[in-house]
Amino acid sequence: MKKLLAILMCIVMISCGLSAVAEGKTTVNLWYYWENLNHQAELDKIIQGYNSSQTQVEVVASYIPFADFKKQLSIGAAADMLPDIVILDNPDHAAYASMGIFADLTDRLAGWDGLQYYFDGPLNSCKLDGRIYGIPFGSNDLALFYNEDMLAAANVAVPTTWDELVAAAKALTTDKVYGIAMSCLQNEEGTFNYLPFQWSTGEDSYHINSEGGIKALNLYKTLSEDGSLPKEAINWTQGDVMNQFISGNLAMMVNGTWQVPTMRETVPDLHWNVTYIPKDTQYASGLGGENFAIIASGHVDEAFDFLMYVTNPDLIATYIGNFGYIASRSDVASQQFIGDDVMQLFISSMQYAQARGPQPEWPSISDALSTAFNKVITGIATPEDAAAEAQATIDGILQ
C-alpha cells in the first residue's frame, strides 16, 4: 500500500513538473482589491489578452479584499512573500515605496513617450523623492449625486454652495429619507470624502486646526444636528452609501465615478444626476484611483512588460470606461464618454480634484482627520477641540 502511494505521489509530482516545463512561461502574480464583479471580469479580460499575446509570461491575478490588502502587503513584505505586481490605492503608494518594496521605474520609463500624457495628480501619487515607482491605472473623483424626483417634489434647486447644501438637505429630509450622506468611516474612505470640503475653503490637507478646517467640521456638525446627515454614515462604506441612495433612503450623496456603471445597471429607472460638490470658496473634489506598482524583489522585467502592454493608450481606451474610471492620461481621457453628461461632469470635476499625499505617513494623518470628523458627527467633541487634537497629531507626524 505504502509503495503504491509513493509511486502515485511520484507520478503526480513529475506530471506537475512537466506541465510547468511544457508551458515554459514565467508566472507573474498580480494582487488587486476590486470587489466589484464587473471590475474583476474586465481585469480578467485584459490579462487573458496579454497571456495569449505572447509565450513568455503568464499573469495570474489574485483578489485580496480591500480591508485586508494593506495587511497582506505588509505581512508579505516582512515575510518576503509578495506578488510581482500590485494594483493599489494611490494614497498608499508613497508609504510602500518608502518601505522599499517597489521597483524604481524612473530609468525604465525615461525613454517612454507615454509618460508626458499622464495627468500630474495621478502621476505624482506614484512618485517619492522625484523617483517614479509605478504607473497610474486610472482615476476617479467625487461629485454630488442627487435624486431628481425628490428635489423636484420638494421644490429644491440643485445646491452649489454650502449654505444651499445645508438648506437643501434639511428640506429634503423626511421621516424616511435623509437629505445627504457621504461615507464618514474612520478610515481612508471617510477621509477621502471629507477632504474636498476642507479643500473647498482653500485649506490644504495638513492644517485642520484653521479657519477652513473648523469651518468644514462645522458643516458636518450642522448637517448632522439638522438630522440631514444620518449618524450611521460613520459606519457606511461608499458602497453602502450608494446602496442607500439607490434604495431611495437618501436624496443626495457624495460618491465617486466608479459607482455609475453599477447604478445604471441596478436602477435604470431612477432619475438621478450629478453636480460639483457644493463649494465654500472654491470647488474641490477628491482624486482617487489606483496605480500599478512592481515589486522590487519579483520578476521585474516580466512585470514591466505586462505594464507596457496594459498602459498602451489604444488598449486603455477599450477597458477604462468599463471600470467607470477616467483614464489617467489626457489623450485617452479626452476621447472618453463623449455625449455622456454624467461622466462629462466627472471629467470636468477632475480639474478641481486634489490628491492625498504623497506622504509616507499619510495613513496616520488620514487617521487623525477621520477621527476629528467622527468626533464631531457623534457629538463627542466640538469642531474646535476635534481640530486642535487632530492638528497636534498631524504636527507630531510632520515635524
Binding site: 494593506k70 474612520q186 449618524k231 450611521e232 468626533k375
Partner: protein, 300 residues
Amino acid sequence: MGAIRKLVRSDRIAYLFVAPALLYMLLLVGYPILYNIVLSVQNVTVKNINSGEHIFVGLDNYIRLFQNGILSQSTVNTLVFTIACIIVQFLLGLLLALFLNRYFTAAKFVRGMMMMPWMIPMTVTALMFKFMFSTNVGIINQMLLALGLIVSPIDWLTSPVTAMIAVITANVWVGIPFNMILLTVGLTTIPAELYESASIDGANGWKSFRHITLPLLKPTIESVLVLGFIYTFKVFDLVFVMTNGGPVNATQLLSTYSYKLSFSLFKYSDGAAVANVLFVILLIASLIYLKFTYADEEGK
C-alpha cells in the same frame, strides 16, 4: 542493552518524552512572544521594517501610547467589556443550566439548540447583530418602536455608550452556551442522593441550592469565570466587524487597537506594545487559573 535499560529506569528518559512538546512550545509559542516583546521596544514602522535598522527605544512606545490616551481608554474598555460580558453570561448560563438540569422531555433538545450561537462563526454573528442594531432598518429599533418603548430610533452603533452595550449584548449571546454547558457538566457530578437526604431533612429550593449546589459547583464556577475572562478579554472579530472600535474609540479594545496600529497605520512596534499589555493581563489571569486548578487537585 544494559545502557538502554539504565536509561529507561532513570528519570532522564522522561525529558526525552517531553522534548517534542517542549520544542514545539518554544518554536511556536515562545518565539512569537519573545519577538513581540523585542519588537515593542524598537521603533519598527513601515519605513524601516525591511531595512533592518531597528533602533532600541526602551519603554518609549509604552509611555507614549499611555500618554496619548487611547491605550488607557482601550484598556478600560476591554475591562468593562469583559466584566460586563462575564457577569451577564455567567448568570444567564447558570440559570439555563439549572433549568435544563431538570429531567423533562425537551431538556436534551433544548440544550442542543442552545449550543447554536457557539457554533456560528463569529463574523456571521457580528454581521447579524450589526444589521439588528442598525438605526433605521434594524429589527431591535423596529420592535422597540412598535412596542412604544422608545419614541425615536436609538443610534445603537453610532453613540459611544449604546455601541458598547450592543457589542456586549452580541458577545453575551455567544458566551451563554459556553457557560451553560460547563455548568451543566458541573451539575451532573453532584450526586442526587444529597438532594434527596436534604429534602428529607426539610431543605428545599433556595436552601439546597445555597448549601449543596453552590459549594459543590465552586470549582466549576471558578474555571468558567477565569476561562470566560480569558476568552472574552481577547475578543477581536466580533468588535472589529460590528464597530471597528468606533465610534471614535468608544468600543476600541486592546485587540482591535493593536490591529489598527499594526495594519492600518503600519506602526508595528506600537501595535506590539499594545499586544503586550493584553498579554500581561491575560498572563495574570492564566496564573490565577493555574493556582485554582492546583488548589483543587491538591484538595482531592
